[in-house]
């Protein structure tokens, strides 16, 4: 159906607006709606929930939500830095601050909230911040760093408000090195979510982080210091506190001003009133997210907002969805402090019983609220150990199936739940995914791992708190389906690659047959194209023997076996290593001459080297003889191994360069050449923040700073492109190399087969933070081991092509035919295109006139 699309205008470019646009584009198959998003903030929608991670080194771009392609869709327009100032409901237009007017067929208000600023004198002084947007946190960070530099002592910070947001802000200030006090008006921290008992345990946990806590304290004024900036807090009880920076976290106010001015009804405590279809009184205007007043209240959580977005989209497309009600379960995202509350945490249901387990010594407080017959779970509070949260939350309103207290004991916390979870229980509330949907992803859509289920259902892709539960459901379902969950490799090997790696490392077995006998399944037999190359790769990582040694040769993938890349017609491509992309004119001449003599198609690769295509199996040794004699060595373009270190020209030539990018790239490439890994590895080095080498698209990206090198990890191209994320800043070269050593080795040891670094970081224990603590702080105590493994790799590296050329036994594998070792494959046929050969198409093969003889050039010896 093609008709002129109707105009959907969305005011606000926040989290809920993003989800709404995504849902329209996913579901509007007739392309009936053209969407325009008017966003006040100068950037595309980002993950506000993860805002605090800005302080732990995540950079702003990595907070971006959804796929960037969404904004490139011709039916989607995003106007950033555009504030809507007026809605004219009669004319159905909106007006923007920069004087534009846009007509709409349907309008959605998704303006969210603003941080509430308490009416106390001094709240507008410099040095007082709110905590809502990226600009807010960037300004806060800048201020704290500047104050710290000016004063030469730790900055004194105060957070007014001891709720979820305030505690997150306090954690952020601590992370910036400030000494922080949380000032709470109520009787205990997080009083909106947890009860007094939990609040008291929480207070001790917060204090253990070095944060001071004052409860029952009303701030009456913020006094300026001699420079006119915030200098002192004064409290109603007469107390005072000297400060250098203040963060206000006293709540949020819905941004309902557009609705009010347009005459739409607003709630008693603000918010544009909507019905169960998220419509305002005006059928052409909806409101979603924090600005919507639904069932009499605004909800300051993202999951209900997402649900509203889905409802609106469903309605726009003719559906009849209604708001399913809000799940107000919350979990504090403060590292080291585990707090969660869900359901009826305050036992407000008549007759509700509370089962409490409290252990002040270990800082644990757990409470479950159950129905009067003690059978149905109504809600709960978990402080100090919230590991049971993901499992318990979906059970709200359902029979517990076991004695409630069993769930509260340290170990039993999460054990009993899961298998009995009904299909309609919500597992992921961020994305509203039920247990049934997760199970169906396995049974009907063929997903076989958590990553697949995440991609298929979106469960676990937002806050991540449900991932443990998703993982378990997936595991259970696979077991039920009789699939060897065992994340095993194949029918011959029940261990995962990481498990096998450890096993082989410990047992010291070094041949395939021994390994399969010891670790393989009953039908291990002769293995297959999955487990054999994995064993080969593990053995290569462990002791670096030559890839064509003995029995090991038989395990190799075709490419590794002949150390070249198989092409579609059965010929191979040859890629000599060109470290850092630096090559001499003499080197270029040699490559050019080889290409010419063998009639090879020549192309520059994305990794800054030269690929020569169309070499026949039996020609490979001769070609390499000439390359090796000229000083080239294998580029390992064929292996699951380190490929290239791409670099820009850096400070030696570039006007802007601040470090010598090429020298570092060459150093890294020579260090890691030949390193075998679960998947290919690419590195990049840029000489300054302009990032001409696109290092952040690489598994390991290094970007020069005035003070050293910033290290990014987990950038992947391919099917699911990912930008690398910041691992560490301003490293000197030695520390950088050591950190990269450990990162690579940790990955090689623990990643799954064919798992690239980005998904590995997502799944490895603790995510990026976990990786950081392993490689920088040695939290697992394996750093020395990793260092040693890399040192060994560097020490025993040898060019495998040179070694092959010296061994007549190995060279026999390059015979084209056992009974005619130098006869060319008679089926190869080429045509010329732009002056170079390429494989002939089936039609061209039928017409010998167009074929060229180029690469069947007589074999030279």
């Amino acid at each position: 159906m093609s008709r002129i699309p109707s105009q959907l205008v969305v005011v606000g470019g926040g989290m809920v607006a993003q989800r709404l646009v995504e849902a329209v584009r996913a579901r509007d198959e007739d392309r009936a709606w053209q969407v325009t998003v008017l966003a006040e903030e100068p950037r595309a929608p980002y993950d506000r929930v993860a805002l605090t991670s800005y302080f732990s080194g995540r950079d702003p771009e990595s907070l971006a939500l959804g796929a960037p392609q969404l904004w490139a869709d011709p039916l989607v327009t995003l106007l950033r830095g555009t504030t809507v100032t007026e809605v004219d409901r009669d004319a159905r237009t909106v007006r923007t601050a920069d004087g534009r007017a846009l007509r709409y067929d349907h309008l959605v208000l998704a303006t969210g909230s603003r941080a509430a600023v308490p009416a106390i004198p001094g709240a507008d002084l410099p040095g007082v911040f709110v905590y809502r947007t990226l600009d807010d946190v960037a300004a806060l960070r800048g201020w704290v760093e500047q104050e710290a530099a000016r004063r030469g002592r730790p900055v004194r910070g105060a957070v007014i408000g001891g709720g979820l947001l305030g505690l997150e802000a306090a954690g952020a200030l601590q992370a910036l090195g400030a000494r922080t006090t949380v000032v709470q008006f109520g009787t205990h921290l997080m009083s909106a979510q947890i009860d007094l008992g939990g609040g008291q345990v929480l207070r001790r946990l917060i204090e253990a982080l070095g944060v001071e806590v004052r409860v029952d304290t009303a701030t009456s004024r913020i006094r300026p210091d001699e420079r006119g900036k915030a200098g002192r807090l004064e409290f109603a009880d007469g107390g005072r506190l000297d400060v250098d920076v203040v963060v206000l976290a006293t709540g949020v106010t819905p941004r309902d001003e557009l609705g009010r001015a347009a005459g739409l009804p607003v709630g008693a405590r603000g918010g544009v009133v909507v019905d169960q279809a998220c419509r305002t009184q005006d059928p052409h205007v909806s409101a979603v997210g924090e600005v919507a007043c639904i069932d009499g209240a605004c909800i300051g959580l993202v999951a209900p907002g997402y649900a509203m977005a889905e409802v609106v989209v469903d309605r726009l497309l003719g559906g009849s969805a209604v708001f399913p009600g809000a799940d107000t379960a919350t979990k504090l995202k403060l590292s080291g402090v585990d707090v969660a509350s869900f359901g009826d945490a305050f036992a407000r249901t008549p007759g509700a019983l509370e089962v409490v387990h409290s252990d002040p010594a270990t800082g644990v407080y757990k409470k479950l609220v159950v129905s009067d017959d003690a059978r149905t779970l109504l809600g709960g509070v978990l402080v100090g150990d919230a590991s049971a949260y993901a499992s318990l939350r979906p059970m709200v309103g359902r029979p517990l199936g076991a004695d409630a207290s069993a769930y509260l004991l340290p170990a039993g916390g999460s054990a009993p739940v899961g298998g009995d979870l009904p299909d309609d229980a919500t597992v992921c509330s961020c994305n509203n995914v039920s247990a049934g949907t997760v199970r169906a992803a396995v049974t009907e859509h063929g997903c076989t791992d958590v990553a697949g289920v995440k991609a298929c259902t979106r469960a676990g892709t937002s806050c991540g708190s449900c991932v443990p539960l998703v993982k378990r459901l997936v595991g259970e379902q696979l077991t039920k389906a009789g699939v060897a969950v065992s994340n095993g490799l194949c029918e011959h090997m029940a261990l995962s690659r990481a498990q096998l790696f450890d096993a082989v490392r410990v047992t010291g077995l070094r041949t395939f047959s021994e390994i399969m006998q010891r670790h393989g399944t009953a039908v291990a037999g002769r293995g297959c194209d999955i487990c054999k190359p994995v064993v080969a790769s593990i053995l290569a990582s462990l002791d670096d023997g030559h890839v064509l040694d003995d029995e090991r040769a038989a395990l190799q993938d075709t490419n590794d076996h002949v150390m070249a890349n198989l092409q579609k017609d059965g010929s191979y491509s040859v890629v000599p290593r060109i470290p850092g992309g630096e090559v001499t004119p003499e080197g270029l001449l040699v490559i050019g001459q080889v290409a010419k003599d063998y009639g090879l198609y020549t192309k520059i690769t994305g990794g800054q080297r030269i690929d020569l295509f169309g070499a026949r199996l039996e020609q490979l040794p001769q070609i390499w003889r000439r390359l090796v004699d000229a000083g080239f060595e294998s580029g390992h373009a064929y292996g699951k191994s380190v490929r290239t270190v791409k670099s820009c020209v850096g400070s030696t030539w570039c006007r802007y360069g601040v470090q010598d990018a090429v020298s570092l790239a060459v150093l890294l490439e020579l260090r890691y050449r030949g390193l075998r890994s679960p998947h290919k590895l690419k590195l990049g080095v840029s000489g300054c923040a302009r990032e001409c080498a696109e290092a952040r698209a690489k598994d390991v990206g290094v970007v020069a700073t005035d003070r050293g090198w910033n290290l990014y990890v987990g950038g992947n191209g391919g099917f699911t492109p990912r930008h690398a994320r910041l691992l560490a800043e301003d490293l000197d070269t030695d520390t950088l190399v050591r950190t990269v050593d450990r990162f690579l080795m940790y990955y090689i040891r623990t990643a799954d087969r064919l798992q690239r670094t980005a998904p590995w970081i997502d799944e490895v224990d603790g995510g990026l933070d976990g990786v950081r603590s392993v490689v920088l702080e040695d939290s697992l105590g394996i750093a020395a081991d990793l260092d040693e493994a890399m040192a060994r790799h560097v020490e025993v590296y040898e060019d495998e092509w040179r070694a092959t050329l010296e061994d007549p036994e190995k060279l026999r594998r390059f015979a084209s035919f056992v009974n005619a070792p130098t006869t060319a494959d008679p089926s190869l046929a080429y045509v010329a295109e732009r002056g170079q050969p390429r494989p002939a198409t089936p039609d061209e093969r039928a017409d010998p006139a167009v074929l060229i003889a180029g690469t069947t050039l007589a074999v030279r010896s």
Binding site: V523, D529, A554, G570, A820, D825
Partner: protein, 138 residues
């Protein structure tokens, strides 16, 4: 040593073949992929990979699937039963099978016979074609 035998072509020595790996051979102008499995058994299928049209089967990885000796195409990873040529895993495509050749190992010599039965019509895996081990050879 080998005596000339009608219908059999001497192709190579057993030691020319690497255990658990394939090698290509030209037999009567046709490209055949030989695989040495176990110590003294050799299996032969067509070198042409039916899915890619390239002559590469000998470069695939030898393995086993539920007891069958297999090779995986190095191009798009379809898996074939080396004894029958049957496609065991078409990787989402229409199954296409491989031609097989009988092979004999006499002493150190590997002989390939005339092409075996086409297995296109294969329903159940055929019994081992004329793949004779030296011990069974006359």
């Amino acid at each position: 040593m080998s005596r000339p035998q009608p219908g059999w072509t001497v192709v190579c020595q057993l030691t020319d073949l690497v255990p658990e790996r394939g090698a290509a051979a030209l037999v009567d102008g046709e490209q055949v992929a030989l695989f040495r499995v176990g110590n003294r058994e050799v299996l032969a299928v067509q070198q042409l990979d039916p899915y890619s049209g390239a002559h590469v089967m000998s470069r695939g990885i030898v393995g086993s699937r539920a007891g069958a000796v297999t090779v995986a195409s190095p191009m798009y990873k379809q898996v074939f039963d080396l004894r029958t040529g049957a496609c065991l895993d078409p990787v989402g495509k229409e199954p296409q099978h491989l031609r097989t050749w009988p092979v004999r190992v006499e002493g150190d010599v590997v002989l390939v016979g005339t092409a075996g039965a086409l297995v296109d019509a294969l329903v159940a895996p055929l019994a081992t074609p004329a793949t004779l081990d030296a011990t069974e050879a006359p």
